[in-house]
Amino acid sequence: MKRNLFTTVLLLLLCTTVLFSQAAGESTDDEKTLTLYCYDTFSSEWGSGPTLIPLFEQETGIKVDVVSTGDAVEMLSRAIMEGEDCPADLIMGISDDQASKAYESALFEPYDSPVLEHVDDSLEFDGEHRLIPFDYGVFAFVWDSESDVPAPRSLDDLMDPVYKDKIILIDPRTSSVGLGLLMWTIDVYGEDGYLDWWRAVGQNALTIADGWSSGYGLFTEGEAPIVISYTTSPVYHVLWEDSTRYQALVFPEGHHQTIESIGMLATSRHKEEAKAFIDFILTEGQAETAIANSMYPVNGETVLPDAYEWAPVPDKVFSMDPEYVAANIDRWTEEWTQAMTSL
């Protein structure tokens, strides 16, 4: 018994030492340390964090402490909860759909960055520049060119019975991509017509997945040849798999756009450094960010790799006013649920 106790304690000590050694290699120089809240993919090895952060630190001498959680909603909620004590200087990753909540929170301080000159006005969804766009994506259906169904040419096309069980949709109640699709249909068909589209295409749907991860996963495993994703999805496959098999489709009705933004907190004590970071992301950080997130850079001057040729550019793009979204989202998703449940 004593021996077991001894072993247990030894093990515990060993573990704590390992943990401490991890923690040890970390500086806490508060002087010039920026705290950045962003979603988890940023910090991942495949995200832009690991390249951009050291680069920024090198160039400016400002240290950045990256705090990443699951997704933007979590980050925002957390910051709101933390209120005055929020240690973050910057929050990165809030999309225009969620902006209303961000505005309400009054957390953010406007920043008129000089770099915004190079950013198209249509992308600056916040006139007051509290939330500054840094990349954007366009929702599109992606099609498997090796499948036996022809590529649909429009949203209307998807209602065709030839696509029965060939489409993977995503649930707007549980996913921002699903939500994007919902808004896309409202953009195109209006509030009176969008549900008809959903009812029709819902019949053709193999499944309505809970999120992009599972939805796209089903797609790559060959369950169905059409999935809702982004115009930039093929870029990944070209870059890393040398494959042009998966193609994003441009529809003449137009596409819905989602813009990701970064904002500086009013409570920040490192405003100058925060501004420097924002500028950095909007200039040197653009290419890396876009590629890592499979999105487009907002800065028109960014040079992108050739693979981006496989991300088609739609003619028409829609956006929705965040206030409008916030006011109606509850009703829309409820209506949607009603309509889809009685299929």
Binding site: M1, D40, T41, P50, R173, S214, E223, T333
Partner: protein, 558 residues
């Protein structure tokens, strides 16, 4: 009763530490979360709660949630019963392997389960490939994206739970009652129905209720594999309200509602399992070598079907991890993912490569398992010796909470802790995993402790041993195998946990499931399956070890 005075300080002191932990790490954030249901911009209000209770939609959701959970539970138990019969009554070589394998399914992250199902049962999946080859038809049999797929997936996850629980109980039921029944002229079937079934019914019920609880809070499996919003649960509504509509008060009201329903089920479960534990049990295993060829055939058949059923999706994940869809490297068989993961290619930056993630997962799991077992032990000691139902229920609370609600609670914790360091990340992750693992550890230890012989302790007391000495020197050593099992299970749960880790680690600590999550988000399904495979193999080895340890001990004792 036994000398109350003696015991007065010791057992409560033991229970104090885990209770404090539970309160701070779990109950407090939970109550903050649920309390939001009562507050609006204007202050205290019951409107959210009223709205939730009075909307018919809430009840529609509730009824579907209850129905799918009940059906899943029923199916799982019914399929497990014949298996439990065979496993409890007969000894055969594959038994240990089967029991280890089955526990595996339970601890995997759900995204992996979904992926495995798709690769195995999907329209372009393995089963359909075989079907097409055999029948020559082009059309696939549609297994997934339907209600039956939900039940199938839930069964996959939970049949092992029922199988293990019922087998365990049945194996230690003495045969004499059934023998008596045979001698009184009752046929085997009649004996089973009138004697055996009533005897094991409490355990069967308790397994059913536990499975019910798990299925109640199921989320992604239902949506993806079910095929659409016609199959939707309370959890989805909570998620929608919180993350899409961003009405946190209403989300909390819904969470409260869900929590209360779950609590009722939890209390029922505990009452039933208490009943099950109080049945007379024998220390010997009643398993014997099968003699008739019919029995042997039945065992072989059941095992084969089980293996296909359980291994199917798991092997699919393994297979996918070595199939590259990249034309650059070459399509088909490829170990590239593994090479990449283990740092040989493209390893970038300060953030971890897979090896680091593996180490983190192992170390965290080890600490969690140790602490969880110890804390659960302390709590169980208290609840058994002092018969405190309330404390036990509180210890099992985390079972009644869904991951969505838990997640909300976690970032409330995080918001209140102002340290962003790596160490804080580790500590919080460990604490969160601890809270999740403790109910399972308790559920493992408690019944064994309850059916133990209190006379042994009395013997020690009369020999002059103090309460603490008896506890550490006599009581705890008696529980060694059970403690090992609780340890293993806690370890496995920690290794596979992703939601809490994401929120609390803040990107500073990378574990295998987080790597999995990241890989999936960056389109790399082959890589994700590779990590999933590593997770599976690791968990399997651990469970196999536990089984081996358990059997060796009992062989030694007999």
């Amino acid at each position: 009763m036994r000398g109350r005075k003696r015991e007065s300080a010791f057992y409560p002191a033991m229970a104090a530490i885990p209770m404090v932990l539970l309160v701070i790490v779990f109950l407090l954030p939970l109550s903050f979360n649920l309390a939001r249901a009562f507050f609006d911009e204007d202050g205290f209000t019951l409107s959210n709660v009223k709205e939730v209770i009075s909307t018919p939609y809430t009840y529609r959701l509730l009824s579907f949630t209850l129905m799918q959970a009940a059906l899943s539970s029923l199916v799982s138990v019914l399929v497990a019963l014949p298996g439990a019969y065979l496993y409890a009554n007969y000894r055969f070589r594959l038994k240990r392997l089967m029991l280890s394998l089955s526990s595996l399914c339970f601890v995997l992250p759900s995204i992996l389960v979904v992926l495995g199902f798709v690769i195995f049962y999907g329209n372009s999946g393995f089963v359909n490939d075989i079907w097409r080859t055999i029948t020559g038809r082009e059309e696939a049999i549609r297994i997934l994206y339907s209600f039956k797929a939900i039940i199938l997936a839930h069964a996959f996850l939970n049949i092992p739970v029922a199988l293990t629980l019922i087998t365990e109980d049945w194996a230690h039921t003495p045969r004499s009652q059934e023998n008596a029944s045979y001698l009184l002229g009752s046929s085997k079937v009649h004996t089973f129905l009138t004697i055996t079934l009533p005897r094991i019914m409490p355990t069967v019920l308790s397994a059913a209720l536990l499975i019910f609880l798990f299925c109640f809070t199921s989320f992604s499996i239902i949506l993806v594999l079910g095929g659409g919003p016609q199959y939707t649960t309370l959890e989805v509504e909570i998620y929608r309200t919180n993350n899409i509509v961003m009405d946190s008060a209403k989300a909390s009201a819904l969470s409260l509602f869900s929590f209360l329903v779950n609590l009722v089920i939890l209390v029922l479960y505990m009452a039933v399992s208490r009943n099950a534990a109080s049945r007379e049990k024998s220390r010997d295993d009643r398993a014997v070598r099968p003699t008739s060829w019919k029995t042997k055939a039945a065992i072989a058949l059941y095992n084969t079907l089980m293996l296909i059923f359980m291994l199917g999706p798991l092997v699919s994940i393994l297979a996918r991890s070595v199939i590259s869809t990249s034309s650059r490297y070459k399509e088909g068989f490829s170990l590239r993912s593994y090479a990449e993961l283990f740092g040989l290619h493209r390893s970038v930056g300060v953030m971890s490569d897979a090896f680091q993630a593996l180490v983190n997962s192992l170390v965290i799991a080890l600490v969690v398992a140790l602490l969880s077992t110890v804390m659960a032990l302390f709590l169980c000691l208290y609840t058994t010796r002092r018969r405190s139902k309330a404390v036990e229920v509180v210890g099992m609370f985390p079972l009644a909470i869904s991951s969505v609600t838990l997640g909300l609670g976690y970032y409330i914790i995080r918001a209140h802790i102002h340290s962003s360091g790596v160490l804080a990340g580790y500590i919080l992750v460990i604490l969160a995993h601890l809270v999740i693992a403790m109910p399972f550890a308790m559920r493992t230890i408690s019944p064994v402790m309850r059916s133990g012989n209190p006379r042994i302790l009395d013997a020690a007391y009369t020999l002059g041993a103090s309460v603490s000495r008896t506890c550490f020197g006599v009581e705890i050593p008696m529980l060694k195998t059970t403690l090992a099992r609780a340890f293993i299970f806690s370890f496995a749960l920690s290794v596979g946990e992703v939601n809490a880790t994401l929120t609390l680690a803040e990107g500073k600590v990378v574990t295998l499931p987080i790597l999995l999550y990241r890989l999936i988000n960056s389109y790399n399904y082959q890589g994700a399956c590779a990590i999933g495979s590593v997770l599976m193999v690791m968990t399997f080895i651990i469970f196999a070890l536990a089984q081996a340890m358990g059997t060796r001990r009992s062989n030694g004792n007999s």
